[in-house]
Amino acid sequence: MKRILASTMMVSLLLLTMLPASALAAKPIHVGIVDCYSGPASTYTNDVLDGFKLVVDEVNAKGGVLGRQITYTTRDSKFKVGLGLSAAKELIMKENVDILMGTINSGLALAISDLCKNEKIPFFATFAKSAKITGEMGHRYVFSMNENTAMIGKAAAHGLALKPFTTYWIAGDDYEYGHALADGVWNNLQQLKPGVELLGQSWWKVGEPDFTPYITSILAAKPDCVIIATGGRDCVPFLKAAKATGFNEKVPFYMHTATELSTLKPLGLNAPEKVIGTSNYHFHYPATGANKAFVAAFQKAYNRLPKVGALYGYTTAKLIINGYEKAGAVNTEKFIDSIEGMAIDSPVGNLTMRAFDHQMMFPMFMGTTAKVEGYDFLMPVDLVTIPGSDVIPSVEEITKARKQ
């Protein structure tokens, strides 16, 4: 009997030593990611995920945060609010995630934000650009990890006010993003340069396949400059039509993300030149050591150049890691307290998460498209940096928006 007992104990001990280390280690920090991974939006969202993975893999290899690994689970929203919201609920209820992040869809970001407010789970909005996320609908548990429509509007207005244009035409996507962006640019431009005049506006449906009739109609009005408030997948066909009609040669136009790699790469050398655009990130600018190191690491891991989404994924991962380290415990309230006002290093320099509204203060880069030797796609040139502190809405503006 003694021998049986002894051998059982021996076997148990042996089995215990054979157990993987992770089974005995502390519970991992689990991040749930809901985003649109099917259709044209995936051009942007895959980079967010890859940028995030790059940082997380590196930290996990070094032993993780507070002795815990960071794990993540993704769900495809297919750009549908209902589907994405159910996925977010499932990640909270069944997967017990500590943090939620993601979504390029502003409507879905606002819905998940509301859910996270009730569930008291931090939510990092990585690509949705509605200013409402941290503006009038902001709360303790939501953070915006990219520039919003108010910031784009301010940046564009700053740049356009310096140019000699007085008559404008506005054209864009007939939905939240398009109108919010156009309002943002126009309201700020009117304040900075009171003489500007709006000749007219055109609005098209999201996914409009043919922009030629819109362009010929705008050209007939002869404005000095045109503000194009179109986003995502519509940028590419718009720029194609602009090139085919010679729009860019006849009238200067501004379009947010027109100078971004996601937009310019698919067009190759057939993109129109002299288009004015803004973006948070370019792989060649700023030409700092930090950016070069990031591009090299990204290229090594994924064999392609990082687009703007990679920066959002990278900064989100960094903020999560530094936040838990500073908090010293996996505790949501302590974590939020620690990331409020936190500054992190990034490929575009030092970035601060503003404590008041949880808006990351990204700088904006404004430039124009041009052919540059050595590249088989157009590049932004004459880039100017507009600091994050210049474009972020003021605390008074946010307070006013939240009271309304």
Binding site: S38, P40, G200, R233, D234
Partner: protein, 298 residues
Amino acid sequence: MGCAANLNLAAFCQQILVGLSKTTILFIVSSGLSLVLGVLRIPNLAHGSLYMIGAFLTYSLALLFGGGGLGFWLALLLSPLCVALAGLLMERGLFRHLYEREHLMLLLFTFSFTLVFGDLVKLVWGSEYRSLPLPSFFQGSIETFGLPFPKYNLFLLAVGPLVAAGLWYLTNRTAIGKIARAAAVDREMVGAIGINVSLVFCAVFVIGCFLAGFGGALVAPTQNITQGMDHGIIMETFLIVIIGGLGNIWGALLGALIFGLTDAIGILLLPQYAIVFPYLAVIIVLTFRPNGLLKSTW
């Protein structure tokens, strides 16, 4: 604000020209849909998917043949043929067993094809969008009415009437066209005089698929080639076929003209509300002629 600031006669004429080039694509795709609808009585929802596949194939084939002018012409010819071949397999393998089924069943059946084709495109080409550059001889624009008009749109303006003339010849001057028209009216009688109706139906379905693929091939250099491009076109072409008269090819031409021109002129006159113009035209037509402008074959 925004109303008619850009209105003058030259701009109006220019906009009609632009609208006509858009009409070309709408007509080519909707004539294929109308043909299948009229002769085979199949409301083929997968017609838009075939258009999308035509565009993706054009992209891949043009690059395969070097991406230059020759590649473009070869792709423009071969991709609709590949789509037609897919149509042949669909018809012989499945559709020919289903002609007697209810329309609702056929509608659901073809809808399931849109899902299958959507996933197929995702499997083969991935979820990122593609962009095919215009060959060098089509790049740039010429001046018409003092405004730029893309050279490629001129090409589209030439293709539209050619396709219309070809279809007229096919349906009115060839034996297969005449038999198809007769079979659309009375299938049993055509069969009774010894004609293989099944083969005629197959040929019509393949031609319909070819037209969908050809439409996709023609838009490939001007648009984003992406998943989801089937949704927009199928809705527009169904509306065109409905206002033209179900199954009537000339109705499809008339419907495409109304749709394309109201869209272009709406953009010029009231650019802020341009989206509603083609749909407003559909409502007006159906209010006064609920069965469409021309004789419906249904």
